[in-house]
């Protein structure tokens, strides 16, 4: 059971989109260990899901779980900002539980 549910809203599967997805995977692997699930939503294919979450910009990353929800827009190239936006502490060398207990 994943502790983290992250939804990434993107427009089409462009090279830029793939880059953002790769960045997110790297970051999660590094910061969250194995405790996460990533859902990628292409707003061109599923616009109603974008409507439901009132997404304006792409890419948008939503931390759906744990609460509270947080959102970060942009291609995630600024890691510091992403961690800040998702309420995650930059992981110390061995702190496995770093983010998971924070807001749960």
């Amino acid at each position: 059971m994943a502790n983290y549910l992250l939804k990434l809203y993107v427009t089409g599967r462009t090279p830029r989109t793939e880059q953002t997805i790769a960045t997110l995977r790297d970051l999660c692997k590094r910061e969250l260990g194995g405790e996460y699930e990533i859902v990628v939503i292409n707003v061109l294919e599923q616009p109603q899901l974008a409507e439901d979450e009132k997404i304006l910009a792409t890419p948008t990353l939503i931390k759906a779980l744990p609460r509270p929800m947080r959102r970060v827009i942009g291609d995630l190239s600024d890691i510091e900002k992403v961690l800040l936006g998702l309420d995650l502490q930059p992981k110390q060398d061995q702190g496995v539980q770093a983010g998971s207990s924070e807001d749960a």
């Binding site: 974008a50 304006l56 827009i73 942009g74 291609d75």
Partner: protein
């Protein structure tokens, strides 16, 4: 996108607007509607969609400011049941209103692709022909990078052109005259610009709508007053758009007073507007009353708007002159509407007057008095009101009698008079005349378009049977100026040998 050269117009269904837009909004294009806070931008945007739905064109509303719930609630007061339209697939919201609970962090590059995808999705979902965006400037408060937002908005409006949809995009501006829009950038978003103004002038609010440009197609120029009514929303009053195409008839109708008919050369003309001007108490209301009674006696429908006196007062006065208003109203040929001028703006009054006339379809209409309405308007607003009212009455092919009160007891003229004089067909002046220590009353026909008339200033009295017109004031000059001077009869006769008493 089928640009076949000629730009078609889409009739919006917004009352009065299509007249000044020479048919409506440019079809398949975006129009920027710019205005300050409270200038009725949102109402106009929603009305554009509501009117479309009534004529079978579905719409999408993109809101950057108010939440859909607020809009549904606010617009219900105009009778627009958005919830119902959403349920039956005629209206769709794209909710881009800010969410106060959502903190947003920006990390790196982004675009507004999701917004565009949602708009396109909503348009396809309901098969929309009309799109409203309210208000575009609000998106700048959600994103800090203005340059990027600007670029993205441009991309979105370009994409809209491919959707074969006519859109209205509102934008907030900070001042009534100056830049179109707050962020100084929205102009290039649209080929067409409309400005809504809400100006405080002489302590009175005056709303106007101006079409600044329609690229590649025509429109009427200048500011047109409008009002927001509870049952229709925005109602534009197309003043100069009213053509002077009314044909005039030579049929005479009675003024309700034989003496006055004689002075007018046989009565008023059927399709004419008559102005009766005089100081307070000179008998304007009596002339109005007789004019109504004269119509009812000939089985014509008569409508009286009273802005100075209550119904009770009017009925009592009429009864005093032997005219049974109550009976006439009960029989259905007379309708008396009494209202305080302060109950609404001049535009509101104009619209309700028009509605009453259209509903009652009178052959005669009287309004007592225009000067009372002057109180609630700016000078320019009042002039526009008079133009709109007189041309409307003339278009209906009926006789209209308006009264105006002069501010000074003796002589003088009023603002009302100078504004309306050129628009009326006949002008009757009622004046107090101070003679030999007595106040007497004089009446004269100043003009009577297309007819001979008595040029004398005659004395009249108000008796039990109404107005009795007597002989002319001979040998007296300066009556109209308010400074009558008695001259020796010999001299007077020598000067004027014209005008026998029986004109």
């Amino acid at each position: 996108m089928h640009d076949s050269g000629v730009i078609q117009k889409l009739p919006t269904g917004i009352p009065g607007f299509d007249h000044i837009g020479n048919g409506g909004l440019p079809q398949g294009r975006s129009t920027l509607v710019s205005g300050t806070a409270g200038s009725a931008k949102t109402v106009l945007a929603a009305q554009f969609l509501a009117a479309g739905i009534r004529s079978g064109e579905n719409g999408v509303f993109v809101t950057f400011e108010e939440s859909p719930d607020d809009l549904r609630r606010n617009m219900l007061s105009f009778g627009w049941d958005i919830r119902e339209w959403e349920n039956i697939g005629k209206w769709a919201f794209v909710d881009a209103s800010p969410d106060p609970d959502q903190e947003m962090v920006v990390s790196g590059d982004y675009d507004l692709g999701a917004l565009l995808a949602r708009v396109e999705h909503a348009v396809k979902k309901v098969g929309a022909k009309r799109l409203a965006v309210d208000s575009i400037g609000a998106i700048f408060t959600q994103f800090t990078d203005s340059a990027r937002v600007r670029r993205e908005l441009f991309r979105i409006t370009m994409a809209l052109k491919g959707l074969d949809i006519t859109s209205v995009i509102t934008a907030e501006r900070t001042q009534e005259y100056g830049d179109f829009a707050r962020f100084g950038v929205e102009e290039f978003v649209a080929d067409n610009v409309i400005i809504l103004r809400n100006i405080l002038q002489a302590e009175k609010r005056r709303r106007t709508l101006e079409i600044l440009k329609f690229r590649g197609t025509s429109h009427r120029k200048g500011e047109y007053p409008f009002t927001v009514t509870s049952d229709e929303g925005v109602v534009v009053i197309p003043l100069s758009a009213i053509e002077l195409g009314q044909h005039s008839s030579n049929t005479r109708i009675t003024s309700g007073n034989e003496d006055l008919d004689r002075m007018c050369g046989g009565g008023f003309f059927r399709d004419s507007v008559i102005l009766v001007s005089g100081a307070t108490g000179t008998g304007k209301t009596l002339i109005t009353t007789e004019f109504m009674a004269g119509g009812v006696a000939r089985n014509e429908r008569c409508l009286l708007f009273a802005f100075e006196e209550s119904r009770e007062q009017l009925f009592r006065n009429a009864a005093g002159w032997g005219i049974p208003f109550e009976e006439m109203e009960a029989e259905g040929n007379l309708k008396v509407i009494s209202a305080y001028p302060e109950t609404g703006s001049l535009e509101d009054h104009l619209i309700s007057i028009k509605k009453e006339i259209e509903a009652f379809k009178p052959a005669r209409v009287a309004l007592d008095s225009l000067s009372a309405l002057e109180r609630v308007a700016t000078d320019m607003g009042f002039r526009e009101f008079l133009i709109a009212l007189t041309s409307f009455v003339k278009h209906q092919e009926m006789a209209g009698l308006f009264t105006a009160t002069t501010p000074s007891i003796l002589g003088g003229s009023s603002v009302t008079e100078s504004h309306i004089a050129t628009m009326t067909d006949s002008i009757i002046l009622l004046r107090y005349i101070e003679l030999f220590g007595e106040m007497r009353r004089g009446i004269t026909i100043l003009k009577m378009r297309g007819s001979q008339h008595d040029k004398d200033i005659r004395e009249f009295s108000i008796g039990e049977s109404g107005i009795q017109i007597g002989t002319s004031f001979r040998g007296i000059t300066g009556i109209l100026a308010g400074t009558p001077q008695h001259r020796l009869p010999v001299v007077a006769d020598g000067l004027s040998q014209t005008s026998p008493p029986q004109g």
